[in-house]
């Protein structure tokens, strides 16, 4: 690529990056303004007005403590609720999905092909189709209003991850598990001592993705959680907005920053896993 081309690519990417980064910056900016400043847009374009648009005057740092101590938005409680669900979902998804995937890939038993077809078919099933009866079932269990419907099903395995891990296990030579079997190792031992360590990267993808999905899940908590003290962050944020006659955009933006920040941090800690995960799920899926 010549220099002209390269410069053109950069220029294009900077404009595009602005579109993707802009909303974050504007959210951050608004979260540090006073209400009157956030609502009043300058009338014209000029250096002075641009400063009035962008620079918070004064810097309203107390928006953050105000959100955290807002009686209608118990941030630390919602964060704990969300974290408990997300950790349990990640744990359940990793354990069960890999166990099921192992049995589908490495143990020979009658019926496993049918089960695999069901796994594939259930990936296509839209959630709304089972939403109403699931609600009924969880109501019979007495689970409505608790976090149980949000994480217990993860312990039965998640089709997409079962599929993903099965594909990984298939790439591991059968000789390895057969040798271990001959040495007197049980299937459980092979799964635990050979398969899990060998497929740690794939397992990390499953853990990370299911954690994220649980953290960001909205429809599930909306349907199953009924008391505000059991709310997850996503549901609480929506609730905070909808009581909004009162909640100002500066506080809403501060709350959004608080909810987004942990995920961004997690992303930078586990960036490689993320990108590898999406790439492999996309290509192999």
């Amino acid at each position: 690529m010549n220099t002209k081309n390269r410069l053109f690519t950069h220029a294009l990417l900077v404009i595009i990056a602005l579109f993707y980064l802009g909303p974050f910056l504007w959210m951050l900016d608004t979260s540090l303004k006073t209400d009157p400043q956030a609502i009043q847009m300058p009338k014209e374009f000029s250096i002075h007005d641009f400063k009035a648009l962008v620079v918070p005057t004064p810097w309203q740092w107390q928006n953050y403590p105000q959100v955290i101590h807002d009686p209608h938005f118990d941030f630390s409680l919602y964060a704990r609720n969300t974290l408990i669900i997300a950790v349990l979902v990640a744990l359940g998804a990793m354990l069960s999905s890999s166990l099921v995937a192992y049995s589908l890939a490495k143990v020979k038993w009658r019926g496993r092909n049918i089960v695999f077809v069901i796994v594939l078919a259930s990936m296509m099933l839209p959630f709304p189709v089972v939403m109403v009866p699931l609600y009924r079932i969880f109501r019979e269990f007495g689970w409505i209003g608790t976090n149980l419907p949000l994480w217990v099903p993860a312990f039965t395995g998640i089709p997409f991850y079962i599929f993903l891990l099965r594909q990984f296990y298939l790439t591991i030579p059968t000789e390895l598990s057969e040798a271990a079997l001959i040495d007197g190792c049980s299937h459980f031992g092979i799964w635990w001592r050979i398969m899990l360590p060998l497929t740690r990267p794939a397992l990390a993808v499953v853990g990370l993705f299911s954690f994220m999905a649980a953290w960001n899940n909205f429809l599930g908590p909306l349907v199953y959680l009924t008391h505000q003290n059991t709310f997850t962050l996503a549901l609480a944020l929506q609730n905070y907005q909808s009581r909004s006659g009162g909640t100002s955009y500066t506080l809403l933006m501060a709350a959004s920053v608080l909810i987004i920040a942990p995920i961004i941090v997690l992303f930078f800690l586990a960036q490689k896993t993320f990108v590898r995960g999406i790439a492999t799920t996309g290509i192999k899926g």
Partner: protein, 329 residues
């Protein structure tokens, strides 16, 4: 010992030991129990409810095809269907094309490539509720950043248009209208709310872009060299190398896009709740309202099954068309 190792018997069938059969079933047991409780049973119940009048407060009452028949004449259902059709028909192909464009751009060997990639990926990490709230604020008609930028641009365009119109001999009413041209209220305007919501879907393409990037990196460089020797320009290489080689990945993302667009829920729920009026009432939103606000569980189940059939039909259509345009090497 040999019992534990699987060997083919004389007829070429697989010999399966009892131990393996039990182990396999035991390992799959969580899933087997799970699909029964959380999938197969609800699936059957949902089909049954779709033929019933059911509010969850009283036992279901069999009414045959009435739920389906009512949907035929329910104009809110028709609006929800059309809204979703419009959303899917525009956002799926457009975000796909945009993602391919971004992936090609991000695949060029330039400095700070990683930073650009990260920036475009970041929005996909944001919970959709927060995405909706941020864009609500950006699309705010008076204090939103988008209209802040649009106002002077439209003012300029309107001014120029007024000059042209005056030169063409337009009446004063037209000139005034052109001078007064101003940005729409977006989410407050039934004519523009869906446009705003479709626009937001471009912000969340990061995962699709990453998948395309991986696909691009799998294309052997020799193909491009061969095309170049054959005299293909950059357009020719895109048409005859990149797109055909990328077609399996495009197909995968198309299927995901179709499935996702028909279950589109969070963004319209948070941004407009289906409004103003019924302008952004999409299928899943109407289904949710019918089930949990109006307790019309039977009707909601019927809608769910129609949704399922629509998704199946569209997916089947995509698979059928794939024979013509997807190339597997």
């Amino acid at each position: 010992m040999s019992k534990a190792v699987n060997i083919a018997d004389g007829q070429g069938r697989l010999y399966i030991s009892w131990k393996d059969q039990l182990t396999g079933m035991a390992f799959a047991a969580p899933y087997l129990v799970g699909i029964c409780i959380f999938l197969l049973f609800p699936l059957a119940m949902s089909l049954y409810y779709s033929f019933c009048d059911y509010s969850m407060l009283q036992p279901p009452l069999w009414i045959g095809l009435d739920n389906y028949r009512h949907l035929l004449t329910d104009d809110t259902f028709h609006i929800a269907l059309i809204n979703t059709l419009i959303y899917a028909a525009i956002s799926v192909p457009c975000t796909l094309a945009w993602s391919i464009f971004l992936a090609i751009l991000l695949n060029r060997q330039i400095r700070s490539q990683g930073i650009y990639r990260t920036i475009i990926f970041l929005p996909t990490l944001v919970p959709l509720v927060a995405t909706g709230i941020i864009w609500n604020w950006l699309f705010n008609s008076d204090s939103g950043l988008i209209n802040y930028f649009l106002r002077p641009v439209l003012g300029l365009v309107g001014g120029i248009a007024a000059h042209v119109a005056a030169w063409l001999g337009a009446g004063p009413a037209t000139l005034q209208a052109l001078h007064d041209i101003s940005p729409p209220a977006w989410l407050g305007d039934p004519n523009w709310a869906m446009t705003a919501i479709i626009f937001v879907s471009f912000w969340g393409v990061g995962q699709t872009v990453v998948i395309f990037l991986a696909g691009l990196q799998d294309i052997p460089a020799e193909l491009y060299e061969a095309a170049q020797i054959d005299g293909a320009g950059s357009w020719g290489r895109l048409r005859h190398v990149t797109l055909p080689m990328l077609s399996p990945v495009i197909f995968f993302n198309l299927i995901m896009g179709i499935i996702g667009s028909w279950q589109f829920f969070d963004i319209p729920y948070v941004m407009t709740a289906g409004g103003p009026g019924r302008a952004t009432l999409v299928y899943s939103l109407y289904l949710f309202n019918a089930a949990f606000n109006e307790l019309r569980m039977g009707a909601a189940s019927a809608m769910a099954w129609i949704l399922f059939l629509i998704i199946l039909a569209l997916t089947a259509l995509a698979f059928w068309s794939a024979k013509k345009w997807v190339h597997y090497s």
